[in-house]
């Protein structure tokens, strides 16, 4: 090996390096999917792979296009926001082929999924204790799921306001009627969320029983309403549905 000549080792390795790198780029060109990188670092065709998946839930408009009468009926009732496929399950196959019948939960299993009592449910949502509520009878014997009016107008607020009723029942206020403190608009029974029930706006409501100048039974705690509360309303500190025990 003379001076200034490239060492043989380096020549050999360079050739191999070029071959490896070239091989890599050839492989890369060959293996990269066609649509890769069209919109970003991914296979653009994957978008349509996802978009072309079949639909199982047809959507309420498809249901309504045939079942107009049920739709109209439902639109006036409490279940107007409940789409058909909530209870009837995915119905795209049914919309396509009428011989395929969607689910129809006629037994007691379906309704309690929403209406069984659970303290985590928002207050005002109608709930029952399924085990106690006409055991064994399918819900449909009394309620029409497409227009679910309670069999009688609820005399008892607890039908909907379950957790409040449960608390009040075991509290000192168990004998106090809801309407003693609350003003209930008629429309509240039909359109509860748009016609809210009022809360007392002054301390007279509580003062009627708890005021120091009122003659109620001696075990009812008494305060001087005006001085005791200051600028607060009674229920801003005390929870009237389950008032604390006083010594």
């Amino acid at each position: 090996m003379s001076k200034g000549k490239v060492p043989h080792q380096l020549m050999v390795l360079s050739v191999i390096a070029v071959a490896v790198i070239a091989g890599f780029f050839v492989m890369r060109a060959y293996l990269t999917p066609k649509s890769f990188g069209k919109y970003g670092h991914y296979r653009a065709d994957a978008i349509d792979d996802v978009r072309n998946l079949p639909v199982s839930y047809a959507g309420v408009n498809v249901c309504a296009s045939c079942h107009e009468e049920v739709f109209q009926k439902k639109a006036k009732g409490f279940h107007r926001g409940v789409t058909c496929e909530v209870c009837h399950g995915p119905a795209a196959a049914h919309a396509e082929d009428n011989s395929i019948k969607p689910e129809a939960p006629r037994q007691r299993g379906g309704c309690p999924l929403c209406h069984n009592y659970n303290p985590a449910r928002p207050t005002g949502f109608p709930q029952i204790i399924t085990a106690e509520h006409n055991p064994g009878k399918p819900c449909m014997t009394c309620h029409n799921p497409h227009d679910p009016v309670p069999p009688t107008t609820p005399e008892d607020c607890g039908v909907c306001h379950r957790s409040i009723a449960a608390q009040k029942l075991v509290s000192k206020h168990s004998s106090v009627e809801c309407t003693t403190c609350h003003q209930v608009p008629k429309q509240h029974f039909v359109n509860p969320r748009l016609n809210r029930v009022g809360k007392p706006t002054n301390n007279e409501a509580c003062g009627n029983c708890h005021g120091s100048d009122v003659k109620t039974q001696p075990q009812v705690p008494k305060v001087e309403t005006a001085k005791h509360a200051g600028r607060y309303l009674c229920w801003e500190c005390h929870y009237p549905h389950s008032p604390e025990n006083t010594p």
Partner: protein, 268 residues
Amino acid sequence: MSMDMNDPMEKGPKRVGRRKFLDLVFKAMPAAGITLGTCGLSISSLRGEEEKKLEPPSEKNSYAMAVDIHKCIGCGRCAYACKKENKVPEDPHTVRTWVERYVIPVEGEALVDSPNGGIDGFPELPETKNILKSFFVPKLCNHCANPPCVQVCPVGATFQTKDGVILVDEKYCVGCRYCIQACPYGARYMHPVKHVADKCTFCYHRIAKGLVPACVEVCPTQARVFGDLNRQSSPIRRFLRFNAIKALKQELNTRPKVFYANADLEVR
């Protein structure tokens, strides 16, 4: 909770119903001379969209979801519909969306549970006396604007579309599960049959056909709202305007696109 819901032997009525339903589908299909594939297509034909070539996703749209926790009744229909719509395996530990129940006691730590994602309802609480409050929180992929899962995917198999939805390319995913590790929300899982990462797509196949995601379709109280942030008349815009909004784990700078109204401090 009624007994028929609690008894594991008695998942009965629904299961049988479902099986019968599927039986019917499979029996009816050859009779009608159609296959599952054409079945999906002809639904879109029903909606007059068969011929329309799908536009590529563009920045003109920005899809998002919002959840009003005060409205959620914990019926779990969203989680159920999601499994049906997206053919998610029935295993309770592969879910695209699920409902959590929070029980905040007067004293002590919050209790959270989500048996089978809330699909079969929630067991009765052993004790209800010392509860300060309790509520349900539906969860799903947050379709982050700054998605850590997309960042870590080594091959570009999970990606963000131009309209802001995070998808998985199931033909390209190598199944390394790095994205599952990187997701702070536990929204991803390994598909036990396809052996690829899988997750909520905002029902991208439904959005493309002008439908709302299945979970939104079946939510009986409209606790879930879906829409396009870029459209002024979108329900999501109204939702964001009229509610105080929280997103999950914002401190991680993932910039979620699932928004929560009335979320408690404990929700995470």
